[in-house]
Amino acid sequence: MKGYHDIAGDGGSRILDQIAEQRTRVADGLAGVRHLVAVGSGKGGVGKSTLTIALAERLRVRGHRVAILDADFNGPSQARMAGVQHAVFVPGREKAALPRTPTGIGVFSMGSVIPESEALDFESAARGESHTWRATREFALLGEILGAFEWGSLDLLIIDLPPGADRTVQYADFFGVRASFVLVTIPSQVARGVVARSVAALSSRPNRLLGYVENMSGYYCRDCNAVKPLFAADASAGFGIPCLGNVPFDPDLARTCDFGLLATALRDSAASDAIDAIARRLLDELNEDQP
């Protein structure tokens, strides 16, 4: 009797062919992107999204063509931070044009599609059993987005990942070896423990770990023009990957994120200086020419 591998084709369902076509559309859509940089952590609330938009802006200022993909479909924040919550999606000749910030950074965020008063939902034959299929459906949606928008010619596509060490690895698998990772932590043992798990999980994949950023590394007091401690002193060692920099918490930076002003109002401060230094270090790690 014939076995599975003795039979060519699939009898007409074409499901494997359709999966291959999806992957081709994603690869074609990203063909003009020089560097895919995923900003993750594993831990939530450490400032991945803030760092993503701030880094994108500093890279843009340095003359690089940058776009952001907010891959956190369930908790999208880039639309608000980038000021594209009310973006107009315009059909181009073949694909949809990517909404842009006032400074010209392309941004796709589910926050431009779904108001904050609503949660992402899918039609389903197995409603009430989403734990069995939801992650698969979200990655299919990610593929659809990558294939359907004009990413164009970019120096960097920065991907803002959702929390979860397991999710971080799923994105590594989805994007393949060409995606490099930057992990974000804060100076708490709880956060560092989760980030360490992400480092361990990613270490089993071929993707490059460019380094980590310590966010909320003290807070910047404008009155004193000084950085003061925010967490208990922490002398922990690194994660065995390069430290790209430390960013102090800056209430003004947080405010500009809340109001979608960051791209136009990232002012001179200890935080913006730190992010600029991280952008330089990131470009060094990527061997990218710097203007």
């Binding site: 009797m1 014939k2 599975y4 039979i7 084709g9 699939d10 009898g11 007409g12 369902s13 074409r14 499901i15 359709q18 999966i19 999806q22 776009a67 973006a87 107009v88 999606f89 315009v90 059909p91 181009g92 000749r93 073949e94 694909k95 949809a96 044009a97 990517l98 909404p99 842009r100 010209g104 950074i105 392309g106 599609v113 779904i114 609503e118 992402l120 939902d121 899918f122 039609e123 389903s124 034959a125 197995a126 059993e129 069995t132 299929w133 939801r134 698969t136 459906r137 299919a140 949606l141 593929g143 659809e144 987005i145 359907a148 004009e150 164009g152």
Partner: protein
């Protein structure tokens, strides 16, 4: 998944797919002896395949689509995104070419695209959306 007619040792061919309340009735037949079987999926099995974002059905046939708007249950008019605009003369019209371009973008952003572009056109006193207006809107809003 493949099906084999054991007596003929021959791969069976997919004939029809009929969706029914979360189940799929997938009929395969043996090209040698004509024997037919039906695979009846439960809701989990149906959803697992649909979650891959693929269409289920024989090539060339109208298929049960897994590519439906994922937000159909939550975005008003998402399911009617491709419907022509109202006959009200105050409403801007879309040329066939512009409609075709709109159909190229993901279904889940089409209603928003239509609304935003119509507003863009009205603000400029334009009553018909053609490819020139789409190009202008793309230049104005897009990267």
């Amino acid at each position: 998944m493949k099906f084999l007619c054991v007596p003929c040792d021959s791969p069976m061919k997919l004939e029809t797919v009929d969706p029914d309340r979360g189940s799929l009735s997938v009929v395969y037949s043996c090209p040698e002896c004509g024997y037919e079987i039906a695979m009846l999926t439960n809701a989990y099995e149906t959803q697992m395949v649909q979650s891959l974002g693929v269409k289920i059905g024989p090539a060339g046939a109208p298929a049960e689509s897994a590519g439906k708007c994922p937000f159909g249950a939550m975005i008003p008019a998402a399911g009617t995104a491709a419907a022509p605009a109202s006959a009200d003369p105050a409403v801007v019209r879309w040329t066939m070419e512009a409609e075709a371009r709109l159909a190229n973008i993901p279904e889940f952003v089409r209603p928003m695209a239509r609304t935003g572009i119509e507003r863009f056109a009205r603000e400029r006193g334009v009553v018909e959306i053609d490819e020139t207006i789409l190009d202008a809107a793309r230049e104005f809003f897009g990267m």
